[in-house]
Amino acid sequence: MAPRANRINVSLLSPLYYVGPTILLLLAIVAYPIAHSFYISLHKTEYLRIGGFTGLSNYLALLHDDIVQRDFIITIKYVLGSLSGAVPIGLLLAIILNQRLPGFGILRTICTLPWVISQTVSALLWIWFLNPSYGPVNYALSKLSIPTLDFRADVVLALPTLIGVNVWMSYPFAMILFLAGLQTIPEELYEAARIDGASVISEFYHITLPLIKNTMMAACVMLTLYYFTMVTLIFVFTGGGPAKLTEVLSLRIFNEAFFYWRMGTASALGVVVFVLNAVFSLIYIKVLRREAEL
């Protein structure tokens, strides 16, 4: 019996040699901090010190915090606004690029560039491009006799401008996913439709749209997750201003934690964002599963 017991031992340890380090890393850097975050959120905090147990009071405080509610609405506007820009633009470009005409390779490369550079650089490029005194955009506006606009500091324009920069930065991602989805549609379907005399528009509604619906769902959920948890672009572009009118929830977590050093509030908000994000992720997985079945 001894050798057999020995073999079982080895076969139990052997997988750990391969998957153990990954599990350890993810437990230490991802799982443990999330659990710790939950723990902190149930306690009083002062700077990094964790005080007495306070139950759900950090969460209740969030519920009664008008600014958090406003941040939540701004977040929804930010996510939906960005989606309604990036998804149609990405889809239109993907459909055009899928025709594979001469020169499209290089045009696709140029159209993908904004997605490659960092959020920091994107924000800084647009700060300078939209500069009220020296930027080309305001110069062009002045030619149209429109007075100088300080896009980032204007209470009406700041959020739409921020969304615009975000769309500029992220539409290539949607475009690339859609293009990959379109390339799975067999050319014969379109040829058959053309023989039957279908117009470009009816081709789009009856062939393209139904066949990339799942890719679209997947892209929408992925972009939602991405927009929902974004900090850097907003932090660098507006810093949440003017008058906190562009402060989304994730930026609020950042400020609570590393500006005001209120770790209890920051952790509670962090847990809320984590849970909402997990819900979105589950939807994403469901969508992918359904896509896999088709």
Binding site: P15, Y18, V19, P21, T22, L25, L26, A28, I29, A31, P33, H36, S37, L92, L93, I96, L97, Q99, L101, P102, G103, F104, G105, L107, T109, C111, T112, L113, P114, V116, I117, S118, V121, L124, L125, W128, F129, S133, Y134, G135, P136, Y139, W168, L177, A180, Q183, A218, M222, L225, T229, V231, T232, I253, F254, A257, M263, S267, G270, F274, N277
Partner: protein, 287 residues
């Protein structure tokens, strides 16, 4: 994606309204995509007086590299660059080592909950970093890991392991099992199979994974600005952001740093576009 653009796009199309519109949309989008980049590039080679000239001019006359010299020789940029390269190097080494072993284990060993394990690992990539940063900072401060190369690398690695694992797993599963079985009959152990047979074959996958990790680390601002505060550990995107405070309103120098902070990524993308995009699509779709 099976056929490349260059082989297919060699026949000229008939000029129709739809073709003209297609080109128009692409050219307009392309112009909008690249205009802020070109404006920054132009600003970076202007003299200080040209930078603030009104009306603004697209072309510098004459171009000068003064701003770049200032950034390279008279700013902490080289230090930020060095920090970023060190952290990227550690992260790449760590992720590739850990993820390759894990991918091999999941692809080749008879594990009971193989798919559940694979799924759980992928699920961690969905955790938003901003939710983790406040508690992580507290923990790091206690362990003395804040403001260290290792601390930063661990965070980047944790967020890159799942994608790398999926990518490498695909490459491993493409290798016929018979190759390893034959080697094992010849007396190769499991581990030797991984190091001597599988490892050399999956090199292209490892290179693709390394590039994705490099881009991730290079472009990150959020983790770096939270966990590496000191001048000695500052990463390039944070250094860029803080440079505006250092130079006041000298946009020429600021844009020179901006160009330098995006150039390596743009060059990498232009030269390895197809491979990178395939990695991205695979990572996004194989959840």
């Amino acid at each position: 994606m099976k056929q490349s653009y260059s082989t297919i796009a060699n026949r000229w199309p008939k000029v129709t309204v739809s073709v003209v519109l297609s080109y128009a949309v692409l050219v307009i989008t392309g112009a909008a995509a690249i205009a802020p980049l070109l404006w920054a590039l132009s600003t970076s080679v202007k003299t200080t007086t040209q930078v603030v000239a009104y009306p603004p001019r697209w072309l510098p006359d004459p171009p000068t590299f003064e701003s770049y010299l200032q950034v390279v020789w008279r700013s902490p940029m080289p230090r930020h660059l060095l920090n970023t390269l060190i952290v990227a190097g550690i992260s790449i080494a760590l992720v590739l080592t850990v993820a390759t072993h894990c991918a091999y284990g999941i692809a080749r060993l008879r594990l009971r909950n193989r798919e559940l394990l694979s799924f759980s690992i992928l699920a961690t990539a969905m955790v938003p970093i901003i939710s983790v940063l406040p508690p992580l900072y507290s923990v790091y401060a206690r362990l003395g890991l804040d403001d260290s190369y290792l601390g930063l690398s661990l965070v980047y690695s944790a967020w890159q392991v799942p994608t790398a694992m999926i990518l490498v797993r695909g490459f491993i599963e493409a290798i016929p099992r018979e190759l390893e079985e034959a080697a094992m009959i010849d007396g190769c152990s499991r581990r030797q199979c991984l190091y001597r047979i599988v490892f050399p074959i999956i090199q292209p996958g490892l290179v693709a994974a390394a590039l994705l990790i490099f881009i991730y680390v290079w472009n990150d601002f959020l983790v770096a600005t939270t966990l590496a505060i000191s001048d000695e550990r500052r990463m390039i995107q944070v250094g860029l952001y803080q440079y505006i405070g250092d130079v006041g309103i000298d946009w020429g120098r600021f844009m020179a740093y901006t160009v330098l902070a995006s150039l390596p990524i743009i060059v990498l993308f232009l030269s390895l576009q197809r491979r990178l995009l395939r990695g991205l699509v695979a990572g996004a779709m194989k959840g």
